[in-house]
């Protein structure tokens, strides 16, 4: 069966969508990504859609699902490279990609994930300290 490859880059997963996905392929990707986040403990998912020319409500829902499932497992999702025509169309369609961060390109997306990772680590530490204070 045809699949979209998922790359592991340090604590993040990277997916580049090269074609306009048909439904089954998109659903397979959703499943594969969620499984891989849970198996690898990845802290971020980066989805490059710069080659995607159409995002309809079906595709939008899949991106939203990936983000909300990943968040449950402590990973943030960034969609990068959305074509301007696609962005304009999504607004009129009425679709808001809830829980999905966006960035201009892969590099900026990585930066964003790194900042979030550091932010989250600090938060974790603070929580731990609070815990320790309480234990004292």
């Amino acid at each position: 069966m045809e699949r979209i490859p998922i790359l592991k880059m340090g604590p993040f997963l990277l997916v580049t969508i090269q074609i306009d996905l048909y439904d089954r392929l998109a659903l397979t990707l959703e499943n594969d990504l969620i499984n891989m986040v849970s198996q690898t403990g990845a802290r971020g998912v980066l989805i490059d859609i710069s080659a995607v020319s159409i995002v309809d409500s079906f595709m939008g829902r899949i991106l939203g699902n990936i983000a909300s499932m990943s968040r449950i497992m402590d990973a943030e999702t960034v969609v990068v490279g959305m074509q301007p025509a696609v962005a304009i169309t999504l607004v009129e369609l009425g679709l808001t990609l809830q829980g999905v961060h966006t960035a201009l390109n892969v590099e900026k997306g990585m930066e964003l994930l790194n900042t979030k990772l550091i932010g989250n680590l600090e938060q974790d530490e603070e929580e731990e300290e609070d815990q320790n204070d309480r234990n004292d």
């Binding site: 048909y22 995002v55 309809d56 025509a85 009129e92």
Partner: protein, 129 residues
């Protein structure tokens, strides 16, 4: 063009792109029309197990555009006003297909009778107005 399975969606979208390119429609307008078409063809597959789409290039008052007619013989829509509402779905999806498609194209017409099927006609002009 016959639409009977999920794999027909991407080739159909490519046909719509061909038609819009042929009349010199801008990329943003093409994207709007194709996205609307994608929503309508998905509905046809999901709620009526498929149907037919007629693609045409039309001219009216010195305007050129693409007209798409989606015709199915599915269960039809009992309450059209309700189906056109943002967020209404009987398929546990986002409920943005019909209202969103209407916003994306210049002209939108939906005719449906329960038990007789649904016909949706959309027109998008070359310059998006």
């Amino acid at each position: 063009m016959e639409i009977v399975r999920e794999q027909d969606v991407v080739p159909f979208r490519n046909r719509v792109r061909e038609f819009s390119t042929r009349i010199g429609m801008s990329l943003v307008n093409q994207t709007k029309l194709i996205t609307a078409a994608s929503e309508l063809v998905r509905n046809m597959l999901k709620y009526a197990s498929g149907g037919k789409v007629i693609l045409e290039i039309i001219s009216h008052n010195a305007k050129t555009g693409v007209r798409l007619t989606f015709k199915d013989e599915g269960p039809g829509i009992a309450d059209i006003a309700l189906a056109m509402r943002d967020g209404f779905s009987t398929g546990r999806s986002l409920g943005l297909g019909l209202p969103g498609a209407k916003r994306l194209v210049n002209e939108f017409d939906l005719k449906s009778n329960p038990g007789e099927g649904t016909t949706v006609t959309v027109i998008h002009w070359k310059h998006g107005r």
